[in-house]
Symmetry: C3
Subunit: 332 residues, 3 copies
């Protein structure tokens, strides 16, 4: 990949995304100090086959993960993605939220995909809001979006999505608050990031760190994402945008196929450190393995009382279902 | 029907809604220049049996469509609907969002329905917001609503809804931006407007035209509406209502039974003309036929490069499921 | 329970919640005139077995209901709940929206639950918004939340939720408008408050009364809540928070497991008194019994014309499914 995109910030982000394999979950940060309005960045993404029948996107050969890397840009930036298809399957990369011509649609419908072994470039552009009429504006591109395959298996990429070809895409507005850590959570059929408990990702942060959650829905089933002891505003940023912001505060939100949202919390703020659950709130989904741990350590990084016991209970007693797979950037 | 409601604007709208049968999809426009606060309009709607076991609402005898005509009013207006039941079934018309007394509820529960062959009048009123306390207001009627049968088959109109008795209802606030074109999309069980690909509606606009999408959910299943290469704000109008509007921008939204939303986009803005997909993002729903084409032509109305090929692929290769029906105002 | 929490207001509320058994559905009002910022209140809640295999929470021994009592607080208040488990099952109480340490999580994961016969105290804290950066704020606790068991049957409380261990929790912001009446509606699998029509709750108000609806989703299925002839704003309060509030007005909203929302309407405002339906808008859910009556009486409390007939039709003719149970605070 283009080394220029690996800013210091993206390396910091790396540590947050994949604890077990920090080099893998690198975010393509266009939001570092070097970023400017209208910047064009180039990145190479490798679509690869993974053990267990999965597929993943990665920023370096042999480093694909499920989910793929977090891609970020500011409104106005352009991202040129050279997608290297190292597999023997037809596949593509299709983004939500940004601008692209039909050539970069990522769909067989528009003849926009990679044949097996093929390399193809996709261009994603973004923009700021622009005046409509009166006080109104047509929206810019800012949002917590995502990208996914749109060509493997069916013309809607059902096979690629099912096997792990998905990831988070963030378009920030200038002035947005940047997080200390980022977690990608994909509710996909009966799994989280194609894993089930107790093999679901354990996300870690220290007390008070600003954590950004990126939630994405995929597949055929409907879900609700719930996080214990933390909450967020159901608007663009997850924070009240002013003292008079009318948006509701929630801690449980529908997370259905093709949808995504994001928000930032201060880890353990007001509740203290500890092992907190995140899970699908559909009862037979959480019972079936759609649950994971958000471990909030003490501010100095040490383990808080009771957390080890809780993790032990989670791993040993609470769940019997397991996918058995062990790759990817979000291991417990 | 009352000729007075067929303003010049509604005729313009007609062309947008039903390309194959332009005279049928007429919107009942209360939003033309003649409209004023508190206007009362009368319209006759004919509920009719259609080929293939379907039923539809129409503004003239023999002209019923699935979905029914787009009905529009401004906050403060009243719509008096004389519903002529030309069928041998019990049926009604039940609106969302507006005011009605129990006599106009459209439910057997309130003894409000048309027996077979019966004509009955329903009155829908609307209003502006009014003060609650402090800076707060109780809401007015403005919204992207819908109407549907509430009496055929079961006391909840399950039979009528299943067979096509539904349509869009818009209540505008004064100052709202009017669109150039309008499309009604009803996600209903495994269909779009009771059709499946490749027989789903192909909506057409020229580059830069302001297109209003009216999305309605019905039936027993849950869906997510996704539109390629375009996005909207998840608020009342689909646009940022001010530079500080905190609402999120989205391109995928839950569209579930009884819910509706609307938004306006500039066709192809920032992405160019072409054949763009809209579809349910639930994978086995899109694979099963819940997909259609939004054809953005060049600004002069000519076909952009690649669009014919994409349409051909859609019609010939991508889908094998078809309802076989060919009536209605939204044909490909 | 602590007598101090039974303010005059909570007694008024009582009459609104449970018409048949007014002493049971008492709201724990922290919002009366005696409440102040930072107040700590103590309440004892009894978890009890009920006829028909149900379980409920109650504020006095032998008075448990399905749903449990409405709990209220202002941002800044703390609620200390002593939960007396009178049953032979493991159970807990887990809140949404408020702050709690791992000891009060209510989950077996954090070793936070009541063994059979055990008494245990849970502490819920709330807070006001606080500055993040620029004009932004991290959210306070205000919201229409809920509480439920998280320990019976499975580690996610699937057994307890299925059998009725749930209720509404409101955290108000100072300056919020207080209602005249409150109704709790829990969509739980194919039931409303674990009942099906015609045994679903009939909620009553007089014309013009300010009624607060508390809607909660639970279980394994997905639903949409619809109320006839009334509508609300899809934001924190259900009202437009200012003349420029961009939030949409709706009358149908997804109500899925773990989610909750609330809103206030003026009973019959603009539409008149009468028997109005509320129901799940998923067709086979409403047909299967997920429907009930919102009876808006005349302003003097007398019955409006036609209402008795509608109720009779609802009870006698429209539904054949019934749970047969007759306890609880929300009977018809």
């Amino acid at each position: 990949m283009d080394d220029a995109v690996l800013s210091r910030r993206s390396l910091i982000v790396t540590g947050a995304v994949g604890l077990a394999v920090p080099a893998v979950g690198a975010a393509v940060a266009l939001t570092g100090s070097a970023a400017r309005a209208g910047a064009t960045r180039r990145v190479t993404i490798y679509a690869e086959a993974l053990p267990g029948g999965l597929f993943g996107y990665g920023l370096e050969p042999g480093k694909a993960t499920v989910p793929g890397p977090i891609l970020e840009m500011y409104e106005g930036d352009t991202l040129e993605i050279t997608l290297v298809n190292t597999t023997n399957q037809r596949l593509s990369i299709h983004p939500h939220g940004v601008d692209y011509s039909t050539e970069s649609d990522g769909s067989p419908f528009n003849d926009s995909f990679n044949d097996p072994g093929e390399t193809r470039t996709y261009v994603w552009r973004s923009r700021e809001m622009f005046a409509a009429a009166g006080r109104r504006f047509m929206p810019g591109s800012a949002g917590y979006w995502h990208y996914h395959d749109h060509a493997m298996g069916t013309d809607h990429g059902t096979g690629g999505v099912a096997k792990g070809l998905y990831g988070a895409l963030i378009v920030r507005r200038r002035g947005d608050i940047l997080p200390d850590k980022q977690f990608t959570v994909v509710f996909h059929d009966m799994s989280i990031n194609n894993r089930t408990a107790p093999n679901t990702p354990m996300f870690e942060a220290n007390l008070g760190q600003r954590v950004e959650w990126l939630a994405i829905g995929h597949g055929n089933l409907f879900h609700t994402f719930h996080l214990h002891a933390h909450r967020w505003v159901d608007n663009r940023t997850g924070m009240l945008e002013s003292i008079s912001d009318p948006s509701p505060t929630i801690d449980n939100k529908d997370l259905n196929p093709g949808s995504s949202f994001g928000f930032q919390v201060l880890a353990g703020e007001g509740v203290g450190p500890g092992a907190w659950m995140y899970h699908c709130h559909v009862q037979n989904h959480s019972d079936g393995g759609m649950a994971g741990i958000f471990l909030v350590r003490n501010a100095d990084g040490s383990m808080p009382p009771g957390a080890e016991d809780a993790i032990h209970r989670f791993q040993g007693h609470m769940h019997t279902t397991s996918t058995g797979d062990d790759h990817g950037g979000h291991g417990a």
